[in-house]
């Protein structure tokens, strides 16, 4: 198991002034594994994700990518190491087409003389290939994001996160804003990523999500590791108990 380790956090603590958001938290993630992170509001889930993505610097503790110790100064650093975050508020520009959103900030260009121009053809082609690889169905790569349903937007956000061969994807409540009938599609997409060898960390309140896609689940309680288990060795009732701080 440890041969496949892609990400590890060792006794990470994060203090905001006198408030302790995280205290000696450990986390590990294997290649192609889907890890569910659960916990009540304020348990430290989002803070932990922000530490892993480089948005926050840990006050104590260290991070390892592919078993190498790293210091992240910004989300750019974690991106360069192959970690992408899918934001809860879906960082997409609704006025732009799907392809433009997926490649925003990293647009393919071609040189004409001294100038760099957008390579519209290549972007369209890469977008279509990538959507097909993830089995995301949309009418056209040129459709504007604002014309899409919530589930399709979430799919575009995930496509954006994985367009540059991300090895690790963090998702903060990927199904929270979705209509019930769309949740299944996003969960299918997560399973698809797993098949492609991508490791995923999913924060979710929904036990259905956790028990559909995750291999392992860990619970935070008041900023500390509370419990964790392979999914097959636990039950919904037990996990719900962990969220509330109860252990048998």
């Amino acid at each position: 198991m440890s041969d496949n380790l892609v990400l590890e956090a060792k006794s990470v603590s994060k203090f905001f002034g006198t408030i302790t958001a995280l205290q000696n938290v450990d986390l590990h993630l294997n290649k192609g594994e889907v890890l569910g992170v659960v916990g009540d509001n304020g348990a430290g889930k989002s803070t932990l994700m922000k530490v892993l993505s480089g948005l926050y610097k840990p006050s104590e503790g260290s991070l390892f990518f592919d078993k190498e110790k790293v210091t992240l100064n910004s989300p750019r650093d974690s991106q360069n190491l192959g970690l992408e975050m899918v934001y809860q508020d879906l960082a997409l520009a609704g006025n732009l087409p799907i392809g433009d959103n997926i490649f925003l900030g990293r647009e393919p260009t071609r040189k004409v003389g001294p100038f760099n121009f957008l390579d519209h053809k290549k972007r369209k082609q890469l977008t279509e290939e990538h959507l097909a690889k993830l089995k995301i169905n949309v009418k056209s790569a040129d459709q504007k994001v604002e014309e899409l349903s919530g589930g399709q937007r979430q799919a575009v956000a995930i496509a954006r996160a994985t367009a540059f061969n991300a090895k690790i994807v963090l998702m903060d409540e990927p199904t929270a804003a979705l209509a019930v009938k769309e949740v299944g599609k996003v969960l299918d997409l997560i399973l698809n990523l797993k098949k492609l060898g991508v490791s995923v960390i999913v924060i979710s309140h929904r036990m259905d999500d956790i028990f559909t896609v995750c291999d392992r689940v860990m619970a935070l309680f008041q900023g500390t590791n509370f419990a964790q288990s392979e999914l097959k060795n636990t039950s919904r009732d037990e996990v719900i108990g962990w969220i509330m701080g109860k252990k048998d």
Partner: protein, 343 residues
């Protein structure tokens, strides 16, 4: 996508009205221009489409179109620039003073765009670094500041008489003797050529470069742009600087056209520029609009003013009409958003 949802979507989109929206979004404005031209031609058959009148319209819109193009980019970022009318006046005054000081004409010609550039950069830096709550406030301030400085350096009096080389941009004529025979009166104004070239360059910039794409992204969702690693503040400074630069070019054209720098130059022309942009289909909420639309908006304003003047309609009615068109154009935008956005 499951089949139930697919059917639902198709059904929505098969509504004729909804299907026509993209068509009108793209071509409706050109249709409007053609109708205006046809109507004015019928009303004034000898005058309106005469060479002299058409070139006159183009000469008039050429400097105004520079302001509209700059303000358009700013509006795409969901911002606003109220100071362009004052920038055009200040750059015109700077040009006049440089000319009076006896500087060579090629230096004088650079003065106006350079002043515009610096004014725009000042706006951009103020909006981003001073963290003004809205560009409206910063550029409202500079609307007063720039015109005040223009009056301070000129003493508040007009300065007239520029060298022919300076006037060539705004007043130059490209003779068409080759087509119409020796000594023909038909010509193409230099300012029309300049306008077409500049609009083409900015069309390339906005549609075929990364920065152009980012300008639209910022207008659509600045948070998304930031999350994508785009330096939003830097792009905004670029946009406001280019807007000021274009106003400076407008000042250069106006210098050639009027052969004078006067305290009221460009007064309220920022409002005409905003009106042209909105009529041209850009959304005030940012992220939406095209360079061709701006051109059309400028032409609609120009043709309308020209036509109403030819018909001897009072300036007061012109104001009422232009105001009504702005409100109608924005109302169409509101309807479009309601119908086109699935929530």
């Amino acid at each position: 996508m499951d089949h139930g949802e697919e059917r639902l979507m198709d059904k929505n989109q098969e509504t004729l009205f909804v299907r026509l929206i993209p068509f009108f979004e793209r071509y409706g404005i050109l249709l409007l221009i053609l109708i205006m031209i046809a109507v004015l031609h019928l009303l004034q058959p000898d005058v309106f489409l005469s060479w002299r009148n058409v070139t006159n319209v183009f000469k008039q819109v050429s400097w105004q179109s520079m302001l509209a193009l700059g303000v358009f980019m700013v509006i795409v970022t969901a911002g606003i620039d109220l100071s362009v009318g004052s920038i055009i006046m200040l750059s015109l005054m700077g040009l006049a003073i440089a000319s009076k000081a006896g500087m060579p004409w090629y230096v004088v010609m650079l003065v106006a765009p350079a002043i515009g550039f610096l004014c725009g950069m000042f706006n951009g830096i103020g909006i981003t670094l001073l963290r003004m709550p809205h560009p409206f406030i910063m550029t409202l301030g500079t609307l007063y500041i720039f015109r005040g400085i223009g009056n301070l350096i000129s003493g508040g009096v007009p300065i007239t008489g520029f060298a022919e080389e300076i006037r060539v941009i705004g007043n130059g004529k490209i003779k068409l003797d080759a087509f119409f025979g020796e000594g023909a009166r038909e010509y193409i104004p230099t300012s029309l050529i300049l306008m077409i070239v500049i609009f083409f360059i900015f069309w390339i910039f906005l549609n075929h470069t990364r920065i152009g794409k980012w300008i639209y992204a910022i207008g659509g969702n600045p948070g998304a742009a930031r999350a994508a690693g785009i330096n939003v503040d830097r792009i905004l400074i670029v946009v406001y600087t280019l807007c000021g630069f274009l106003a400076g070019i407008g000042g250069l054209i106006l210098a050639g056209r009027t052969n004078s720098a006067y305290p009221n130059a460009g007064l309220q022309s920022e409002l005409d520029a905003i009106a042209a942009v909105i009529i041209g289909g850009a959304s005030f909420f940012g992220g939406r609009g095209t360079v061709l639309g701006v051109f059309a908006g400028v032409m609609i304003m120009g043709i309308l003013r020209n036509g109403l003047n030819l018909m001897n309609v009072s300036v007061f009615w012109q104001q009422v009409l232009i105001g009504s068109i702005i409100i109608l154009a924005v109302y169409i935008d509101v309807l479009r958003r309601q119908l086109a956005t699935r929530t």
